[in-house]
Amino acid sequence: MGMVKDFFSGIYNLVVGLFVTGKHLGRHAITLQYPKERWEMPERSRGVVVLLSDPETGELNCTACLLCMKACPTGAIIIDREKNPETKRWFPTKFVIDNTICAFCGLCEESCNFDAIKLTGKYEFSVFDQSELIYDMDRLAELGRDVKYTPRKKPAAKKAAEQKKPPAEGKKPDEKKEDTAEKKPEEKPDKIETNPAEKKEEKAEASDKKTEDQESRKPEEAKQGDLGLDKEEDKKESGN
């Protein structure tokens, strides 16, 4: 008897299974017809890396502080820089991102203090030749033109605008060091620090004040020197 019962319950369950799939037959598909329809990328989406520029002046926000290059876990960022003799500010002469090894981890964006580099929701950068995936500064700047962003703190841009010295926007190299910004390194023996100043958009308004705070704290921090940014920084580093 058990066998017969098993048989009928087996058939019943097979039919029930058919109904589950049959139910889906009438449903509307959940996929998108890709080239025609596109998914709207969320704001935080980490797609291709771009360089942002100041919407007013059109100049790159980058101050060639090399922080992103140092933060990059794969060594995909290569920066060459020069000092503007008039303003004594650094500016990038070469900014290359090798998208063949870029991991889209977002560490460069997090390390940047000047809204200069950002991972955007852009995608679709397939090419036939691998070498085309190595983006130079012009390409990166071009990609970043239409990217909206909330300026976190832009003292550099402001100052540059005031001083009307467009080519070198950005701070002095020394200033950059502090912006990675540990508040009180001395207090914690294990040298691990929070940095609330790095908070994102929500604190944008308060940002100017904070930058000032950091600037005032600058000299002591520079002595700490465990940021990984040492004097070699003054040398031009060709990266890889």
């Binding site: 087996g10 029930v16 876990p73 991991a103 023996p189």
Partner: protein, 387 residues
């Protein structure tokens, strides 16, 4: 190779005692299942010695996906390692991030804010559901039913959307960082997440009607690949596969990390120790994960979950073997720090590494179709094995 020949020789001797085999001159043959095979889940090569359809011996050959992550990590500063952890185990990379963060935190005695711990639990459990959904689909697909795979992926996409909205990526999140998480959740995340968990519970019922009572599915899974508890423990099998072997062992409960002590959930255990139990353990675990997420969302404290490390900090001297319950089992990270910016030694323990070892043991004498079912039931993910 000589060993294999020896092996075949042995069986030929046995065959000579078998009159049918002697008369027909049957012979065992070798089949290379993989490295490129639909159901080895990545590039795993199983060298099968087969007697017709029956498996005589299985020898796994791994390393096709070896990326030397341990070596790479020795040359990276601590902050740079999380992206590699994502790639160490890309099916549940949230949990891989977590084990690394946990290890560094335990060595550096870093306090994690309560909100970050709650978020970790939420995202870890979402990740567990996402991984089990893939498991569910792939398991059914390896038994020949393709449709469940698509259903599983459909639900997984919803989790991916939640992840993408929060951390910007769908697969390699880089979200759980040392000391916290990378970003706070967006407003409205809780509602979306709750909506998802209640939807998930409904969908699981659909899943169960589709497969759980299906006689074909039952005949393919019941009493196939029985792994008794002693054997599983001896081979270091972990996670749902170990629990399916009737062992009450869940690192979330037995060696708690994060805030798992605060949540209530059941640990399913198997009774027959077979493929079916391993499947069922994961399906039940999805429900339990939903429960945990709901509890965590209800108790989510206010505060700031992020914690920014100095660009290259020095971890104090020490060593620790951290382990968490990943979706596949015990995922371990062992770091030896010598007070430098970079780890002196970083060893990763993937749960699939041990889980794969037991497969040759329990699949002897079964059919090739059963091997596929067993392989799928252990949820082997090759990047975790090869590292």
């Amino acid at each position: 190779m000589d060993e294999k020949e020896l092996h075949i020789g042995e069986h030929q001797e046995q065959d000579e005692q078998n009159p049918v085999a002697r008369e027909l001159h049957t012979e065992e043959f070798l089949v290379n299942m993989g490295p490129q095979h639909p159901s080895t889940h990545g590039v795993c090569r199983l060298l099968l010695t087969m007697d017709g359809e029956v498996i005589v011996k299985v020898e796994p050959y791994i390393g096709y996906l070896h990326r030397a992550i341990e070596k790479i990590c020795e040359n990276r500063i601590y902050n740079q390692i999380t992206p590699f952890m994502d790639r160490f185990e890309y099916v549940s990379s949230m949990l891989a991030d977590w084990v690394y963060a946990l290890c560094v935190e335990r060595i550096g005695q870093i306090e994690v804010s309560p909100r970050a711990e709650y978020l970790r639990v939420i995202f870890g459990e979402l990740q567990r559901i996402a991984s089990h959904l893939i498991y569910w689909g792939v398991f059914a697909m390896d038994l020949g039913a393709v449709t469940p795979f698509l259903y599983g992926l459909r639900e997984r996409e919803m989790i991916m959307d939640l992840f993408e909205e929060t951390c910007g990526q769908r697969l390699t999140y880089n979200y759980i960082r040392i000391g916290g998480v990378s970003q706070d959740i967006n407003p409205g995340f809780e509602q979306k997440c709750k909506k998802f968990t209640s939807y998930m519970c409904q969908v699981l019922e659909d899943y169960e009607t589709l497969l759980n009572e299906n006689p074909i599915f039952l005949s393919r899974t019941k009493n196939i690949g029985v792994a008794p508890p002693e054997l599983s423990v001896a081979y270091g099998v972990s996670g749902p596969s170990l629990r399916a072997s009737g062992v009450n062992w869940d690192i979330r409960k037995d060696d708690p990390y994060g805030y798992y002590e605060k949540f209530e959930f059941e640990i399913p255990q198997g009774k027959n120790y077979d493929t079916w139990d391993r499947y069922q353990a994961r399906v039940i675990e999805m429900r339990e994960s939903c429960k945990i997420i709901e509890q965590a969302l209800d108790g989510l404290p206010e505060g700031d979950p992020t914690f920014k490390m100095r660009a290259s900090f020095k971890l104090p001297e020490g060593e620790y073997y951290a382990r968490i319950e990943s979706s596949r089992g015990e995922m371990g990270c062992y770091i030896v720090s010598k007070g430098e910016k970079k780890p002196y030694r970083l060893k990763l323990r993937g749960s699939s590494f041990n889980n794969l070892m037991i497969i040759p043991e329990i699949s002897k004498g079964l059919k090739i179709a059963d091997l596929v079912a067993i392989f799928a039931s252990y949820d082997i993910i090759m990047p975790e094995v090869d590292r």
